[in-house]
Subunit: 483 residues, 2 copies
């Protein structure tokens, strides 16, 4: 086998396409959640790399026999855990193309098409989401593809941090305060830690079921006032549209107004639910985004674009660039020096970057916005169906208002024995996941261990939702009977 | 087109394989460096995403007519700029497989095979590089795939920062000092900025041609002593094996001893040159790595593994985990809670991660170590050949000692007119790059603008090197004639 050869690539590429198509054809035959034990693979593979070449067939046989049993099948139609991670034909083709061109797009000149297509496609997506014009690349802002929402929130947090520190001096870093809710994604606290924000300066504002776990403006206002009174410096607020636990939606408009009047950077994390906002009937969930400084949605979750592709928009790209730019001699070039172009290396943590806009472009073109809307609506209808089934079974309770395609639910313990509720639901989770027939995950809401059923895999149909519910009912009956 | 369908994926996947194989077949017909002007693509594409689906053929036609002219062809055999970014048949197949499984491997449970294969394959690679056993996953250390060397250096810098701050208190962040040379990659300064290390606490130690641009131990010792005397806290040293400008090699053993005796975290960046160290005759370049706390090499540069795949090893994984772990309720699971497994989310900046070990595993298996060694040796021989050609032409000078597959060279200006040297070389760079026949880049060494010729693309053969040299000579003649 040569390192690269067009005809070998053709031959083996076709072989791999068939292997992959067969994987999808048979995907329902695998346990969704891998049932292997920790350390299983080390027993099956040699201790060191081979000296001599092995055949592709040998490797594919090992993928089948040794790797796939250890895979949790996120593309299975019976995957209902976490949030989805969509693969699609278009997204997959885009990954293939990107991997073959295999350029490193740090600067415009290192592959102009990569930078320019990214700018254009993120403008397309911003328009599909009806984001305000300030987020378009044609003004002072623009979009950029980050690897993940964690990286998106980190880069804007750094931009916000440095913007304030340029004003008040870098020794004041210990005074900067960030505001989140107890439902905000864990990546925000991690970003603070990375950026040197003191853990005690992260205000984790409490939410509860009375606001459906949304962050209320009042406690935010109060916290900001108190911090200012104590000589601290509020600098960052992260609101969420579609929280991880229960898809709660924070009130963007009210929170944004408070941010603005206090000079606080306002970031909106719509990593999961942003995709739904291409549908007119769900767009209202991001009303108020015009108040935000930055907005993020993961095309790799529920938008048919293979992982990773996290779309971030900012209104003031110069803030990002001031925090993240480097300009070593060996990367200098005329287009960059003359400020004629965007160099995305200055909008992100890494220097190198893949040609990720290709897959998003292919998704938008091969499906078109109408089909993408229909795709989202179908999942929301399936989740609505599941929610109805839960409501029809009096042994269960819906644990949080469903807004998108996630249903949080709870198996009620016997009235005489309410303290076993958490264990009961935990046991139900283990029982259904260990069947291999479906995979769901959990969270804690109002101090209760509740189950999460997230619809969103491209292959999921109504029959899969019905079958999953049947397994859940069956295992619930077993557990209740054996109490 | 359905979002996902095995038979559609098969049909369109085969079509895409042929498109890609044809791209490689014709790759020499493209100008290596894209010749488009800033903004070219916006004029060719619509303003917004289509409402209705378009055909794959339409998209592929656009890739051919609109995207490829804007691509700088890193896989071209005439790409000699920066450092290489290898694609290979094996790496490409691995990318395909990874994109199709499309799982998000944040925790072991989210796809056990992804975590376990990564541990195993990084152990394989560590053994191929003869790294000390402390870097293996079987002890307290281990390897992890980061996206890029920038991320690798950032995570270890954060681990080092927090390790010291846990001891001296977080308010001392303004006292932490990092040590690098003026040849260290720009990502180190960026990592410091991200982590809140004060810019004036980055000691950029000077190198010069007398040490072939390697960092000398003496100035490091002095700088550390002075900083300690001033009440500052030395915490991090980055040494490089194969610097970006000229592939200088810092003396690891001596630097490591100084680090160790001062409690400084010692990171070794071998992003480019690490690959060569699988050959016994080049392994000596990383002698002293046993003194390091962390070591990094980019399999995506010169190791036939498609971008991105940056291998990082640490001796003390708990330092990474203490800096980067999160433990939100919605990700809790038995295997993690019982500490039975590695959760790579705690070794990196993002939460989500792709199944990148697959492509590295396929590269190691489909080529085997002997062929990989031969691959590296061939490029080094080609670079040696190019160096000889430069030496044979008295108009040129080799500008730095060649160690691996990079040759730095300089077109000598007329003796009567030495001040035009920089411009002359800049003009030569522009002249050859605008032919489209080859792509080289530049750097500055000892205040001179010098040209970099980096061999390392999988398709590069001797004829490409000879042709590139011919173009360089021809353009040099033109320039010298028109002085």
């Amino acid at each position: 086998m040569k390192p690269m050869d067009a005809e070998q690539l053709r031959e083996y590429g076709h072989q791999m396409v068939d292997f992959i198509a067969d994987y999808y054809k048979n995907i329902e035959n695998f346990p969704v959640l891998s049932q292997v034990q920790p350390g299983y693979l080390r027993q099956l593979l040699p201790d060191s790399a081979p000296t001599h070449p092995e055949s592709l067939q040998d490797v594919l046989d090992d993928v089948q026999a040794k790797i796939l049993p250890g895979v949790t099948h996120w593309q299975s139609p019976e995957f209902f855990a976490y949030f989805p991670s969509n693969s699609s034909v278009a997204g997959f083709l885009g990954e293939m193309l990107s991997a073959s061109i295999n350029m490193v797009g740090f600067s415009w000149i290192s592959s102009p098409a990569a930078t320019e297509l990214e700018m254009i496609v993120l403008d397309w997506l911003a328009k599909a989401l009806k984001l305000p014009d300030e987020f378009l690349s044609t003004g002072q802002g623009g979009g950029v593809i980050q690897g993940t929402a964690s990286e998106a929130v980190l880069v804007v947090l750094l931009a916000a941090r440095d913007k304030v520190l340029r004003r008040v001096g870098k020794d004041a870093i210990g005074k900067l305060v960030a505001y989140i809710s107890d439902q905000t994604h864990s990546s925000l606290q991690k970003a603070c830690k990375i950026g040197g924000i003191h853990p005690e300066n992260i205000r984790v504002l409490k939410t509860n079921s009375s606001t459906q776990f949304a962050l209320s403006p009042e406690p935010l206002s109060e916290a900001i006032s108190q911090d200012i009174a104590s000589g601290l410096i509020p600098f960052f607020l992260c609101a969420t549209v579609g929280t991880t636990s229960s898809t709660a939606v924070d009130p963007l408009f009210a929170l944004g107004k408070i941010s603005k009047s206090n000079g606080v950077w306002f970031h909106v994390d719509a990593a999961y639910a942003g995709s739904a906002c291409i549908c007119p009937e769900f767009r209202h969930y991001i009303d108020g985004v015009e108040e935000a400084d930055s907005f993020n949605m993961n095309a790799h979750k529920w938008f048919l674009t293979n992982f990773d592709c996290s779309a971030l928009w900012v209104k003031d790209r110069s803030a990002l660039i001031q925090s993240l730019s480097t300009n070593p001699e060996y990367l200098k070039n005329k287009a960059s020096q003359e400020n004629l172009v965007v160099d995305y290396k200055d909008w992100q943590i890494p220097l190198g970057r893949r040609f990720r806009s290709l897959k998003l472009w292919m998704v938008l073109r091969l499906y078109g916005l109408e089909k993408l809307q229909a795709y989202i609506r179908n999942h929301i209808e399936l989740a609505t169906k599941f929610e109805e089934l839960v409501r029809l079974d009096s042994r269960f309770e819906v644990a949080a208002a469903r807004k998108f395609s996630l249903v949080c639910f709870y198996l009620l313990p016997p009235k005489s024995n309410e303290e076993i509720g958490d264990k009961l639901n935990h046991d139900l989770l283990d029982a259904v996941n260990s069947t291999g027939k479906l995979f769901i995950s959990h969270t804690v809401l109002s101090n209760r261990y509740v189950l999460r059923f997230a619809v969103g895999a491209p292959l999921t149909e109504e029959r899969h939702v019905l079958a999953a519910w049947e397994t859940l009912q069956e295992k619930a009956s077993d557990l209740l009977m054996n109490l």
